[in-house]
């Protein structure tokens, strides 16, 4: 038997053309049906979506044999795969990957209420036969993803701090991969929520916007630790609908924090979310989307996994790295200008600048510490080390979390446009710069409740 070469026919498994599945019972009666999804697992294995308990299912459990006809959506070549059933997975990374893809297929087919994944049936591929290469296809000129990865990795290696790393990565995705909309999100240790630290290609940056674990492709990729890809978008994974529903559930009171709007496309066709790992822990997610259906294929997924892996390594490399000292304005609290009002809500460390929401959580606590000591002691220079050791900040154990919060805070300050900046002035050193003095208002939990 020739060794199966599933790699070379991976595009047959994108779900664009339904596959045909034949099974039989032990008495030799065949059964044939269309099947929504044949999923490529590795060089020797595929998985089929188990959606209904039917004759196909009974036959598989009885004989363990299957024969599948798949079609290359570009060349229209067709392949017959002989399969041996191994097991069914009803949860976990493979299941979630197939569930997301099936949701996209169901949406495309108008079968959202019918297609529901019960399990991922895993098969070993016994043989592959090319049964119909009707005529040579005119293959579209594809992107050279290997070259794109090489060039982006080279750019990333030059980044001197975390913020620059994120910007270089997103710029490279646009330049070398022709991905016009992308984000990098990092996970909050305490809540496991993912917050946006960088984005490209959106009307608003959405820096600081949050996604809960399990929400959409980003949340599922983070929770399961696997890339999640959808080629035909579906309401099951739509952030627009999800976030609108959440907003309606939590109607805001006067003192509740308005959420930073999720920046993503309203009606994307394709999405991909790839986890960023460090020490086997999901640190965050690289996310990209497109208005083009089936924009992200297996090869794109492989390429983005390499980029995400490098991001994980570089985040470790750059923690505590101050970067090049930038030019610095005079320190904070100059006189002669109208003070900037800063309100801090102790219950969740949310901070408002002149009545407009800035940030909350750990980043809010860091900012409040800096402005408080600036007003009280006239300090403008701080070190990463003192922030990390300050018990009041309740910083998570992992060092890169501080760096990520500082990048988030810097960017939110820049977006607010009041001239307050948090500058890097050396390795592990920060300077708070402001064009006007601060006027601080601390609001205790009881007061916030009474006011609301």
């Amino acid at each position: 038997m020739t060794a199966p070469d599933l790699e070379s026919i991976r595009c047959c498994f994108e779900g664009m053309v339904p596959a045909v599945l034949a099974t039989c019972d032990s008495l030799g009666q065949p059964n044939v049906s269309m099947i929504s999804q044949v999923h490529y697992i590795d060089h020797y294995h595929v998985a089929l979506s188990y959606q209904f308990f039917n004759k196909t299912r009974r036959n598989l459990l009885e004989t363990g044999f299957a024969s599948v006809l798949v079609t290359d959506p570009t060349s229209v070549a067709q392949y017959r795969l002989e399969l041996d059933y191994l097991e069914t997975q009803e949860s976990g990374p493979l299941f979630e990957t197939m569930k997301a893809k099936l949701a996209g297929i169901a949406s495309h087919a108008g079968m959202q209420n019918v297609f529901r994944l019960r399990g991922a049936d895993v098969f070993r591929v016994r043989s592959i036969a090319n049964v119909a290469g009707v005529m040579p296809a005119v293959m579209p000129a594809g992107r050279n993803l290997l070259s794109a990865v090489r060039r982006l990795l080279a750019d990333m290696s030059l980044a001197t701090d975390l913020g620059e790393l994120f910007d270089v990565t997103l710029a490279g995705l646009r330049r070398y991969f022709e991905i016009d909309q992308a984000m990098i999100l990092l996970a909050d240790d305490a809540s496991s929520d993912l917050f946006t630290v960088a984005s490209v290609g959106y009307v608003r940056s959405g820096i600081g916007s949050e996604i809960a674990p399990g929400e959409g492709v980003i949340g599922v990729a983070a929770r399961e630790g696997v890339p999640i890809r959808i080629g035909n978008m579906t309401s099951d994974y739509s952030y627009g609908l999800m976030l609108r529903a959440r907003a309606q559930e939590n109607r805001l009171g006067e003192f509740d924090i308005p959420e930073i709007p999720y920046p993503g496309l309203d009606a994307p066709e394709s999405q991909i979310a790839v986890p960023i790992f460090k020490d086997r822990r999901t640190l965050g997610v690289v996310f990209a989307e497109s208005m083009e259906p089936l924009r992200f294929r297996y090869d794109d997924e492989d390429a983005l996994v390499l980029i995400a892996d490098r991001l994980g390594e570089d985040i470790r490399r750059l923690r505590d790295r101050g970067g090049n000292p930038g030019k610095s304005d005079p320190p904070a609290a100059e006189g002669g200008r109208r003070p900037i009002s800063i309100r801090h809500f102790a219950q969740d460390d949310s901070v408002f600048l002149d009545n407009d929401y800035l940030i909350k959580g750990v980043a809010g606590a860091i900012f409040w510490k800096l402005v408080r000591e600036c007003v009280r002691d006239g300090r403008t220079d701080f070190t990463n080390r003192e922030l990390r050791l300050d018990p009041a900040l309740r910083l998570p154990t992992h060092a890169e979390n501080l760096e990520a919060r500082l990048v988030l805070l810097q960017r939110r300050l820049a977006e607010r446009g009041l001239g307050i900046r948090l500058e890097r002035v050396g390795r592990g050193q920060l300077r708070l710069v402001s064009p006007a003095p601060f006027e601080l208002v601390e609001i205790a939990p009881a007061m916030a409740k009474a006011s609301a």
Partner: protein
């Protein structure tokens, strides 16, 4: 109850109300034109393994269905049918997902007649229109449904059983 007129099936199924609630409202719930369908075939090898195949057209003559199929894509399938293996054929309409499966204890191979060739061409045209209506590109559709007349062979079956294969809770229900 199932009545066949040319290639159009009119039927009432068990669990009709339950099944209908899962289907597009625009669909004509009681008929399925086999000529507008994709044809999936299956048989079984001498060592008890299933073999998948694909049809190109069909002619219904009373209780007999003549399915045209391309030899290059169906070599193993045709070998097994010639040996006397059982046959299954599922007809599926892309725009509605309505599907029906016929099962026969055996199939006979035959040369195509003029009517079989004409039916294969009609099937290609109607199935192509269905695929294009389901958002498949015309270029893909043309290549996916194409055949050369000299490639065709006929598999004739007399179904013993017929099943509703439309995705949903009623899938697999036997039709009488």
């Amino acid at each position: 109850m199932m009545i066949v007129e040319n290639t159009v099936l009119r039927m009432r199924e068990p669990n009709a109300d339950r099944a209908d609630s899962y289907r597009p409202s625009s669909e004509n719930k009681k008929t399925l034109d086999l000529a507008a369908c994709g044809i999936a075939l299956a048989t079984v090898s001498f060592d008890g393994r299933p073999i998948v195949g694909k049809g190109a057209g069909c002619v219904v003559e009373g209780a007999t269905i003549r399915i045209t199929a391309r030899r290059p894509i169906n070599e193993k399938f045709l070998e097994a049918v010639l040996r006397g293996a059982q046959v299954a054929a599922t007809f599926s309409q892309p725009t509605t997902h309505r599907s029906i499966q016929f099962k026969a204890r055996s199939g006979q191979l035959d040369d195509p007649t003029a009517e079989d060739y004409a039916a294969a061409e009609r099937q290609r045209d109607m199935f192509s229109a269905e695929l294009i209506a389901s958002a498949y590109a015309p270029e893909f559709t043309e290549r996916y449904t194409t055949f050369a007349p000299h490639e065709l062979v006929v598999v004739e079956i007399r179904p013993d059983d017929t099943f509703d294969q439309t995705p949903g809770p009623a899938a697999g229900a036997r039709l009488r």
